[in-house]
Amino acid sequence: MSQLKRTLLAASPVLVAALLLSACGGSNNSSGEDGGSGQIRIDGSSTVYPLSAIAAEDFQIANPGIQVTVGSSGTGGGFEKFCRGETDANDASRPIKDSEIQECADNGIEYAQLTVAIDALTVVVNKENDFANCLTTDQLAAIWGPDSTVSNWNEVDPSFPDEPLPLFGPGTDSGTFDYFTDVINGEEGVSRTDFTPSEDDNVIVQGVAGSKGGLGYFGYTYFEENTDRLKALEIDSGAGCVAPSADTARDGSYTPLSRPLFVYPSVQSLADPNVAEFFQFYVDNDVEIAKAALYIPLSDAAQEQLVTDFAALLNQAGS
């Protein structure tokens, strides 16, 4: 026997073992009950991802035969797949665009828009900061813009005292950073870079709480847990100062730092009983899921509306 053969034979157990190792435990490939596909695919916004992932996790514990996967390739990337019929639903942090509506129509994909939670950002300052209560979006852009050299409060507004302005924000990988830079600086991902970034919101809390002139931003629900240490700024986008709260976020008056989060299920996919069952679960547990994902849950009225809308949608899908 040649040396080549011997070596291949010697190496083959490694490969076989690797395949066996990966095959074991992968035997739960049963198609789901009721003749459905047993496989549900969701993709889209990384902001909505935690909501759908929690829904998927809880649902699979109750329904072990059904496999749910959640991707996070972004709202736009997700819609591209969704409108080709490659996914059953798309997570979106903005409403579907005209070009995407056309794309879906061309491929005969019908969909519905479900609002599942509200995302809101809060600009926070130190508790001892008694001079700044409200900033306009222009002032925020002047502070956070890519060419900004603002390093003192009196550069933001001459009436503010001479107080250094250290900045704290989320890391550039995060959806919060993308959202803030998009609505404040006008382009996603564009920001001054000489601030203290952290993926850990706690670091931002400590940073702002630790310096009198500190300023930072993160998700609203995280502020709710730290109201004793931080002060939230009101935001003026042209229609007067609005304080962040669950109510102003829900009714849209706290703009532009709040937005609804959507899931777009495909009507064709909802004809599959497993997919219908999953979204029924998602809709029914929506408030609890939103809280777990640290977003603002829908108001009671909006939640009732969602349940009604979804029931009508299931009728339309004929499931």
Partner: protein, 293 residues
């Protein structure tokens, strides 16, 4: 007296001081690489230590429960993808190299054209292979977001490296081995298959494992190809959905909760252990098959 000193003395140049500075420079260059690696390894091991236990292998990822979340689906996903990558890339790469080195007419125009292209392909950014894989395997061949799409794309990615290193290994086999075989009446095919190729195995193994090590760490092309972020089952076939370790790590580092940062560090250690195991296999094959002439 060492060879170097003797040469210097005979040539009558070079001072011991200059020699020593040069040696220290060489050592410093080595130290930079090793030091960086040591810092990185120490950092992730210390950070991931609290979660470096069996739960990482037995439990599935969880968004709700970082305390008990594991990376099983990512570990099995990585093993599935890399196994099929090897299954496709290794035979194809070795055979292509064998043709180019042993059978193709040397220095012909077409040969040079192919050579330049292979070398260029080795330098193409991986994301470009991702776009190619999405268009060809996922969509045109309708393989979807599956293990096999990922494996075929990664196979394309590592193919140039495997071809180049296999050719180097074949070239290192002395000419007289081939001549001897041919003189004894073996055909060209028999010579290549029974003499040249076995003699080149150590080099091929090293090159292949280095190429596959690159593939197992890739995240960018797989993100394009639809490796998912949340999956709580293992692949059960080549058309199954999947995720891989680099994507799971990327996903966890984005989470603001500290537990997930620890989990990500622990998973990085697992990825490094898999890489070490692969290198170990390469060294083992090399030692087992190495010949001296």
């Amino acid at each position: 007296m060492s060879h170097l000193q003797l040469t210097n003395q005979l040539a009558g140049k070079g001072t011991p001081l200059r020699d020593r500075i040069f040696m220290w420079l060489l050592f410093l260059s080595l130290a930079i690489g090793v030091f960086t690696l040591a810092v990185l390894l120490t950092y992730v091991t210390i950070k991931g230590w609290p979660r470096l236990d069996i739960r990482l292998f037995t439990n599935m990822p969880s968004v709700r429960d970082p305390e008990n979340a594991g990376a099983q689906s990512a570990i099995t996903g990585s093993i599935w993808v890399i196994s099929f990558t090897a299954l496709v890339a290794l035979p194809t790469g070795v055979m292509a190299a064998l043709y180019l080195e042993e059978f193709a007419r040397p220095n012909s125009r077409s040969q040079r054209f192919i050579e330049v292209n292979i070398q260029n392909l080795a330098a193409v950014p991986s994301i470009v292979y991702g776009i190619l894989g999405l268009a060809v395997f996922a969509r045109a061949l309708a393989l979807g977001q599956s293990v096999i799409t990922a494996a075929l794309t990664l196979a394309l990615l590592v193919l140039p490296v495997i071809i180049i290193s296999t050719r180097e290994a074949l070239r290192a086999v002395p000419r007289n081995i081939r001549d001897g075989s041919l003189a004894l009446g073996a055909t060209e095919w028999q010579t290549a298959y029974r003499q040249t190729l076995p003699a080149a195995i150590p080099g091929i193994a090293t090159g292949t494992i280095l190429a596959l090590s690159r593939a197992i760490g890739e995240a960018a092309p797989l993100l394009l190809l639809g490796a998912v972020s949340f999956i709580t089952f293992n692949p059960d076939g080549v058309l199954s959905d999947y995720t891989t370790l680099p994507i799971q790590i990327f996903n966890w580092t984005k989470d603001s909760r500290e537990e997930f940062q620890v989990l990500a560090a622990a998973t990085i250690v697992v990825l490094l252990l898999i890489l070490l195991a692969m290198n170990f296999v390469a060294i083992w094959i090399r030692n087992k098959t190495q010949k001296r002439w």
